[in-house]
């Protein structure tokens, strides 16, 4: 039992008891260890504890953490301060939030080196420049003079890597470093991280919820659930022959899913049709250009694309939240007014939208029953017992017991909340449901269950649905057809089942090639292609 990093029987307690308990693992010099788990598993708490840092209200109550022979639990704050950013460096999840918005990038990148008095300003800047070049940042000479809001998310993530590496740390902690990135950007960041870790021979702890990403990065994997270690071992063993049932469920959820074709598209009549729709926000540039789309009754259209591709704008235009600049939206053959305010109540009822985040979409002060009763009362005019019966029916539809009507959303799990969010849309008996990234905020296993549920619901109710997502495998699971959005245009339309065979446009190919696979060595075999090379 000897590693370069040793964690033994770690317990971290928050205000409501242990967040992390009895956690032990080792990391050898030059090794990459992955901490994998879902939200609430304690992975970030452990990662921060490796720097002797706990968040407000928490403390390390027992156990030992040794990094290179130094005992972090017994160290004083001043000693830890000397270690952080110098010997142990941290790369945070959202670079956009982790950079100070009012300081320029160079000041922040060289700050660890200067604060620890490791080098003078000139040599620190020279080293930063070398790192910018090594990390493949554009115009490395001048990018340091910019501010965080002036560079892209992928570039910020690489700048954060430069900030971490400027002091030649011995241990680098990467906390979900690519989760906030688009897949086509993520693959490049993963390559950079992997190369840097290998080249510099540093030890690394890689925190992630994404097994496919971890499969590319880690030598060893620790699986966490509710603050405890469920399983740990070599990456191949954990991924290919998981021993623990929880690990098996994670692996199953991450595996490429089989599409569920609905087979219920009986007639070719389009329930929803877009003709030459363009849209812009205020006086800004056009974010949707001349979109033509048709959704057959009972059909399910997947809309995929990266952030900024216009896919959420599409949902806003169809629902009337954002009036189209030109073109028309037709529902069952009749042209809809461009804005919500000018549509009739009946038209509003027939198009419902399900938002990404149930936490912000559902009023936390209302009971589930009240949330579901509102659209029923509004659109169907039901009162009293009939209303209650309809709410029970809706709860039954989303496989929740009738007793949930009296509970508030704060008491429910993420998956349950998202089902309620969906039920609220279904309460209006809509013709078309717009699902905007409805699985993005959910954990992998919960998201997989939600997708299976959506596919089932489609078969049951014959819903017509536009399913917007950045996750290609999610789209394939619930949709008959896929539209690929890029820079506000549809660059590809293909049947969901054989998107890979049918893909013609280079962006679709890039998207397919960038989606991480559970297979070890996928990252090395994936073709290198920069998004900048794509022509519309």
């Amino acid at each position: 039992m000897s590693g370069w990093v040793e964690v033994e029987g770690l317990q971290v307690c928050g205000p409501n008891g242990p967040i992390v308990d009895q956690v032990s693992f080792q990391v050898a010099k030059g090794e990459v260890l992955a901490l994998i788990g879902e939200s609430g598993s304690g992975k970030t708490t452990i990662a921060l504890a490796l720097m002797g840092y706990v968040r407000g209200g928490c403390r390390i109550t027992s156990g030992a953490i040794r990094v290179g022979g130094r005992d972090l639990v017994a160290s004083r704050e001043r000693q830890l301060q000397a270690l952080r950013g110098a010997k142990i460096a941290y790369i945070a999840q959202s670079a956009a939030a982790a950079f100070n918005p009012s300081l320029n990038l160079m000041d922040q990148v060289v700050e660890p080196a200067l604060a620890h008095r490791l080098m003078d300003r000139a040599s620190a800047e020279a080293k930063a420049l070398d790192l910018f070049r090594a990390l493949g940042l554009p115009s490395p000479e001048t990018i340091g003079r910019r501010y965080p809001h002036q560079v892209s998310g992928g570039q910020l993530q690489r700048l954060m890597a430069a900030m971490a590496l400027i002091t030649d740390p011995e241990l680098v902690i990467l906390d979900e470093p690519t989760t906030a990135l688009d897949v086509t950007t993520q693959i490049e960041a993963l390559r950079v991280f992997k190369r840097v870790v290998r080249d510099l021979g540093v030890s690394a702890v890689y925190v992630s919820h994404d097994l496919a990403v971890v499969a590319q990065m880690a030598d060893r994997i620790v699986v966490l659930n509710n603050g405890r270690v469920r399983e740990q071992g070599a990456a191949e063993q954990v991924l290919e022959a998981p021993a623990d049932p929880y690990t098996r469920s994670l692996v199953a959820a991450a595996q490429a899913r089989r599409p569920h074709p609905s087979g219920r598209v009986e007639d070719a009549e389009a329930v929803l049709e877009l003709r030459g729709v363009s849209a812009r926000y205020g006086r800004g540039p056009e974010v949707l250009h001349d979109i033509d789309l048709a959704l057959p009754r009972g059909g399910s259209l997947g809309v995929i694309g990266e952030s900024g591709s216009g896919k959420s704008t599409l949902a806003r235009v169809v629902s009337g939240l954002l009036p189209a600049a030109s073109g028309e939206v037709r529902l069952a053959g009749r042209t809809l007014a461009p804005t919500v305010g000018k549509r009739t109540r009946e038209e509003l009822r027939r198009i419902q939208i399900v938002f990404q985040n149930a936490d912000t979409a559902l009023n936390p002060a209302h009971t589930v029953g009240r949330l579901l009763a509102r659209p029923v009362a509004l659109y169907e005019g039901l009162r009293g017992a009939a209303l209650e019966a309809r709410v029970r029916e809706l709860l039954d539809l989303i496989r929740l017991p009738a007793g949930f009507a009296n509970r508030r959303c704060g008491e429910l799990s993420g998956g349950q909340k998202q089902r309620i969010n969906l039920a609220r849309a279904l309460a209006a008996r809509p013709d078309v449901v717009l699902c905007d990234e409805v699985t993005s905020a959910l954990d992998t296993v919960v998201a997989a269950a939600m997708l299976a549920f959506l596919a089932e619901l489609r078969r049951e109710l014959g819903l017509s649905m536009i399913f917007i997502s950045h996750d290609i495998s999610a789209v394939q699971e619930v949709c008959d057809e896929v539209a690929v959005f890029y820079a506000g245009e549809i660059v590809e339309r293909a049947p969901a089942a054989d998107l890979a065979q049918a893909a013609r446009h280079p962006y679709t190919e890039l998207l397919l090639a960038s989606t991480p696979q559970l297979r070890r060595g996928w990252l090395e075999s994936a073709p290198v292609c920069a998004p900048a090379n794509i022509h519309r």
């Binding site: 720097m51 968040r55 301060q81 100070n100 009012s102 300081l103 700050e111 604060a115 501010y147």
Partner: protein, 316 residues
């Protein structure tokens, strides 16, 4: 920098519009006051004929829009008219009082602002500690205790009991530094009591808000000292709300100093305005109101510009 210039010009433009609106409101409200300068000057025993004659002489019989246009035109030319009560140009009266008020406000600002910032930052860094709670209690009580009580207690202690300081503020023509400080210490202390609390509490809230941001945690994880995290990382981002709180507090020093001016018998502009109200001296009253409003607008404008310059996104 071009974006900043446009933003600043737009702010100045809107400030000018606000001032114009305020001038109309001030004029309307002051004409709603019961009685007028003519009846006030002649007293209760005056005959109606005498009052009517004086009214005609003073131009009080003209319709309100005409009087407003006259007054506004004069204001724009830098001539706010003649005081009805003293028969002196309003400009002369204001010129004798305004510098004194500005001096008192400036001294208080110079003393109270750094003090408030230091207290606010200290409370934010040590939040939920004994120091934080003590400061919170102290600042709350400072807001709660009325100024006349603070002033009276200070006078009682330092002027009456200890006899260290004068109880009224009379500064000679060419004061020594010592007599100058002695004269101003009590009013400045009293005003500081009133304004420091608000600024300190806003500073604390703004700094704590920034310390909760992910970038502040990142700064700590870079191994920076707590002082550096607060001063280099959190404070620049908290500048916007802080300068606004400072501007609001300081704007109070000009017009809200009436109690302090009265207690310390200090010839400032606030007491001039109160005199104008009691003697129904509309030109003087209106001029004072416009000065207070302009002072307020200037402070808010400066705060806006400071907040823009502190934010690289707005700086463009």
């Amino acid at each position: 920098m071009k974006g900043v210039a446009v933003l600043v010009l737009r702010r100045i433009g809107s400030a000018a519009i606000v001032l114009l609106l305020v001038s109309a409101i001030v004029f309307t409200i002051s004409s709603l006051l019961p009685g007028d300068a003519a009846s006030e000057m002649l007293g209760q025993s005056a005959t109606p004929q005498a009052v009517a004659a004086l009214r005609a002489k003073m131009g009080l019989n003209e319709p309100a829009p005409v009087r407003y246009a006259h007054w506004l035109g004069g204001l724009l030319r830098g001539d706010p008219g003649v005081s009805l009560a003293d028969n002196l140009p309003v400009a002369t009266l204001v010129a004798s009082r305004l510098p004194k008020s500005l001096l008192l406000a400036g001294l208080t600002a110079a003393f109270a602002t750094p003090l408030a910032l230091a207290l606010g930052i200290l409370a934010a860094v040590r939040r939920d500690s004994a120091i934080d709670r003590a400061l919170s209690l102290a600042t709350l009580s400072m807001v709660a205790v009325p100024e006349f009580l603070v002033a009276t207690l200070l006078v009682l202690l330092f002027a009456v009991k200890l006899r260290w300081l004068p109880s009224i503020t009379i500064v000679p023509e060419h004061p020594s530094l010592w007599s100058f400080l002695r004269g101003y210490l009590l009013p400045v202390l009293t005003l500081t009591f009133g304004v420091v609390a608000q600024m300190a509490r806003m500073t604390r809230a703004a700094v704590i808000d920034q310390l909760r941001q992910p970038y502040a945690e990142m700064a700590r994880l870079k191994g920076l000292s707590p002082a550096r995290v607060v001063l280099v990382h959190a404070l620049p981002n908290a500048a916007g709300p802080i300068v606004n709180a400072v501007a609001l507090s300081l704007s109070y020093l000009l017009g809200g100093a009436i109690i302090v001016e009265t207690i310390f018998n200090y010839p400032g502009i606030a007491s001039l305005m109160v005199d104008a109200v009691t003697s129904r001296d509309m030109p003087l009253l209106q001029a004072c109101a416009m000065i207070f409003c302009a002072g307020y607008m200037i402070l808010v404008l400066v705060a806006d510009i400071a907040a823009i310059l502190a934010n690289p996104r707005l700086r463009g």
